[in-house]
Subunit: 208 residues, 2 copies
């Protein structure tokens, strides 16, 4: 192994943990969450079934790593949506739409993200206070949209409400019962905006 890719490359394989997470995400996209066995991930990465155990305590820890990347991706998606919002007034709804679209475009990853969170009864710690996390982006946007930052409980409640709404809608949109309703609204994003509007989220955030 002479032609190393200039990266810090450990002993045998060359950053196997990285390769395992990538393999897991590949399998997740192509075969769905139910096909994501630790052995299949090792197979996909071209190593023996026991190799992952030198980098992850167990299957759950590998899934945690996959989920972590999902939260980072979601964070980026929300950041892009906020930047692209035409006005701060609409930014809250835009965040919601972007959130649901992320879940629609990466359904298996999204499922792993929340499955991991439920198992430990806690959202990833990076969500809460790091200032630039997805959750904080929502809260900051609410403030910029006019919410009172000194009413900390109200602000937190509004953030939770927004997050719950987006998550709930993200899980519902995949059900085919709502297809006719989407059509009646004139497309999926129009449907999403309409539902968010019916939740009164923006109005509530601005205290109207």
């Amino acid at each position: 192994m002479s032609n190393a890719p200039a990266e810090a490359r450990p002993y045998h394989h060359g950053d196997l943990s990285r390769a395992l997470v990538d393999a897991a995400r590949r399998l997740l996209e192509s075969e769905g969450p139910s096909a994501l066995s630790l052995r299949a991930v090792a197979r996909e990465a071209g190593v023996s079934p026991a190799a992952p155990y030198h980098h992850f305590k167990d299957k759950g820890e590998l899934l945690d790593a996959v989920a972590h990347e999902g939260w980072l991706m979601l964070d980026e998606a929300l950041g892009r949506a906020k930047a692209a919002a035409p006005s701060i007034r609409e930014a809250v709804a835009e965040l919601g739409v972007a959130y649901v679209c992320f879940a629609r475009d990466h359904p298996a990853l999204y499922r792993v993200m929340y499955d991991c969170a439920r198992d430990k009864e806690s959202l990833p710690e990076a969500m809460q206070q790091d200032g630039d996390s997805a959750y904080c982006k929502v809260r900051d946007t609410l403030i910029e949209a006019g919410a009172d930052p000194s009413a900390s409980v109200d602000l937190e409640l509004a953030t939770v409400a927004a997050w719950c709404s987006a998550h709930g809608l993200a899980e519902m949109t995949s059900f085919k019962q709502f297809d006719p309703l989407k059509e009646a609204c004139g497309g999926e994003t129009a449907f999403l905006r309409a539902v968010f509007n019916h939740m009164g989220l923006v109005r509530a955030a601005l205290g109207e």
Copy 2:
């Protein structure tokens, strides 16, 4: 077997499918969803590992039966909540609180319900049109609270919004990050009401 329990009792065991579903729900409550293997269910019911295959096509079909009972229970819980609401104005929020409390009290069952629904990308068909399903209860309550029944798209959107909000909140309340916020609100149900209020659900439903 002379002392039959007066019920219609099939060949050997006596309504094994019933016993299997009961055993599954027992295991679900005591050991959680991850421990719910088909073999464990058969063990709990006192039959061989292959016996369930004469009553259910595969594990998924058994879980479907369990989930179905869950939806019935949720339906009943919402019915009780609506009946107990002090005024029709508050009935919508009461339904939401009852929904979340159901999910909190039967977390494993609730998870199975939505896992089954996600797998077939469809909520149980009994949810949509049967007139007395959980979903219809929400819609009817919105009408009674003042929503315009002739604006069918708006009405449907409001129902979806309410359902999404409740589901989203149901999944979030289990995360321990929100414990301090619950305390600041003065208890869990106060927290639930506050979040629903911040969603502006009732206001939106009444078109204010």
